[in-house]
């Protein structure tokens, strides 16, 4: 496991190391089974096309889960993800890379807890944002 991140290590404007995901149709099926989101637009191409989509699409909530992973990887075992929001702006398709990125927007101490807020987003291979959101985390403090 990577080294624990502390509140003092974080600077406003600092970037979170990007994470690249390569969702496949198999991953979509795994997600469908694990999440209970059985909507056929995630595994049945004919169905997806009959509903106006160009093919099966990566579930928005899976992108949300990717952004959650970006944060839990970053904050380490002693950090806590308190809030995560994500709005799905464009379609992602299996076979296309999803690059998850984030930036620190705010840090503050409140009631003895050390909060950090970040803006998060996911990009497709063209560099377009397919999802964007925010996170609020609590980090441990040195001393």
């Amino acid at each position: 496991m990577t080294e624990q991140l502390y509140y003092q290590d974080v600077a406003v404007g600092g970037e979170i190391t990007p994470m690249v995901k390569q969702p496949t149709t198999m991953q979509l099926v795994m997600w469908v089974g694990a999440s209970g989101d059985y909507n056929p637009i995630h595994y049945d191409k004919d169905f997806a096309q009959s509903r106006g989509l160009s093919g099966v699409i990566v579930p928005g909530q899976l992108i949300g889960a990717f952004l959650g992973q970006l944060m839990t990887d970053w904050i380490g075992e002693q950090g806590a993800l308190r809030k995560l929001s994500c709005s799905y702006k464009g379609m992602s398709y299996p076979g296309e890379a999803v690059t998850c990125k984030g930036k620190v927007t705010k840090k503050y101490v409140q009631n003895g807890e050390h909060f950090v807020e970040c803006s998060l987003w996911a990009e497709n291979p063209k560099g377009e944002k397919t999802a964007s959101g925010k996170a609020m985390v609590i980090l441990p403090s040195r001393g």
Partner: protein, 142 residues
């Protein structure tokens, strides 16, 4: 939207009303399968004792969609956005009670006909009656 507007009216009349609570016992394989599906190798969830925060999205989702589609048989639904608040981690053996409600609904003409833009709020309580998480989902039905 090919749906009878009476179905939409029925759903509108439920704004603010809590749906029937449902209970879910959190099992080890549910957590491990979720982490594998996300492709999340974080050692914290590998033994299935603690769930990643976004695991909440999976708790009761299937029954929630069933309940929604029973009320309004949309041709399909798309997720518009998610807002999650986590107060404590979900652990193996927890029994989580979910309560969903619709808190907003507006209709708009879209390229696939009439579309319903819905906001749902859900809460997640553990076996000690502690609120462990809240979630808001924006869902588009057509």
């Amino acid at each position: 939207m090919a749906k009878a507007s009476s179905d939409i009216e029925k759903l509108k009349s439920k704004i603010g009303v809590e749906w029937q609570p449902r209970e879910y016992e959190i099992e080890r394989e549910m957590i491990r399968r979720f982490a594998r599906a996300v492709g999340d190798p974080n050692p914290l969830w590998q033994d299935g004792a603690i769930a990643p925060p976004t695991f909440i999205l999976a708790i009761g989702f299937e029954h929630f969609v069933d309940d929604l589609m029973f009320l309004v048989p949309f041709n399909t639904v798309l997720m518009g956005g998610t807002e999650l608040e986590c107060y404590q981690p979900i652990r193996l053996g927890d029994v989580i009670t979910t309560i969903f409600k619709i808190s907003n609904l507006r209709e708009r003409q879209g390229k696939m006909g009439r579309m319903a833009f819905m906001t749902f709020d859900s809460s997640y309580m553990n076996q000690k009656r502690e609120l462990v998480a809240k979630c808001r989902q924006m869902i588009i039905g057509y």
